[in-house]
Symmetry: C2
Subunit: 218 residues, 2 copies
Amino acid sequence: MDLKILPMTVQQQAADKLRTAILSGVFQPGERLIEADLCTRLGVSRPSVREALRSLEAEKLVAIVPNRGPLVPILSWQQAKEIYQVRALLEGEVAAAFAERATAENIKRMREALADFNGADKSGDAAGRLNATSRFYDEMLAGCGNSLIQEIVQGLLARITFLRSRSMSKTGRAKHSAREMRKILLAIQAGDAKAARKAAVEHVENACAAARSMFDTK
Amino acid sequence: MDLKILPMTVQQQAADKLRTAILSGVFQPGERLIEADLCTRLGVSRPSVREALRSLEAEKLVAIVPNRGPLVPILSWQQAKEIYQVRALLEGEVAAAFAERATAENIKRMREALADFNGADKSGDAAGRLNATSRFYDEMLAGCGNSLIQEIVQGLLARITFLRSRSMSKTGRAKHSAREMRKILLAIQAGDAKAARKAAVEHVENACAAARSMFDTK
DNA sequence: ACTTGCAGATTGTCAGACAATCTGATTATC
DNA sequence: GATAATCAGATTGTCTGACAATCTGCAAGT
């Protein structure tokens, strides 16, 4: 077991706090982030805030415009579409790889996540729905045997959190989504890599279509 | 045409200089980067250097260990392997997409890059070889219609520059590589997406095998 | 040979400062 | 009245200087 304790530097904590704040919608897309503001809110100095912002900039969670400062980027449909394309490619690979190495324990946790998703859906708990989805995904991503893919996909998912939570609220989307996830799970259970890839790709494509309609109506 | 002039901030220039320095081998993998050193060398203050380092950290071109500071990361074989896996996936997609949208101009430039590659190979010019390869790739990446894939792949290529320049110097690898690139180009010229994907995947797989042997001998 | 402890080097973080730049509103001009 | 020029306030980009916390390697002690 790895007992290494790695110190939590101020800039790291600042970056973490800002990241969760952005992902949870405390800062809306398009909103400018005032450095001095963040300093007082976070209780740290400006250099630390600026370093944290540079990290988040590289993650594409904030954009820094020279002489205008940081802001939460607004995703264009073009960008969103590209993200879904890459997701389809990578998550298909993940599902295929995972189908060939999933343990009983893995599958059990995925089934639980799926059950929680349905529970959250029944009670109309949007946050719970997204949380269950994340657990479903993380199980695959962590177990697919390629930590680089995991990292990339999680980064992409972070960038479209806003879109996902919105499009998931569309009537019917949650039910469809649940069915698609079950299909993925069944293929994995059967150890059928090809079917798992196909199901995963379809799932992303459907999510993409659902997201697209968000842009049309908005 | 986009004529927007975006100011070159000090931290950006610092990041750029450091990036090229790392990629060109001025700083060797494993080497520690002393902030004070970088300050005097770049002629900028410590805050600027630290911000630049945070950006590069997110790009994985430097690793920052708390209380030890920045260093050029040493790639493990496991990491390298994962990078090649993702490259195969993404570059296959790029080649396939590009085969269906390449213009005559695109193909002309790729042919030129390939010719330059062979020229550089004959004269034993390692830097010229890598440069020509980059131009060959960039043409595809820029034209594949998905700027996100372009960005990801270029980031991955940057992380393995060191490996690539070494494995390319292996006897015979350059010749093989040239042949593989020609195969990709021919498929693209024919507009055969499927063949282009296959050729691109094979090219990456061969590059991966060549890289692997670097780890064994080293 | 193995621990202990110390000195030097380096990082993490802060406070304060100032010029450059942007923003929006006010004023001047046609 | 509408457009253009101007200006004050806000905000960022950058620097200097400082100091505690931490790491490293070496010397001393057991």
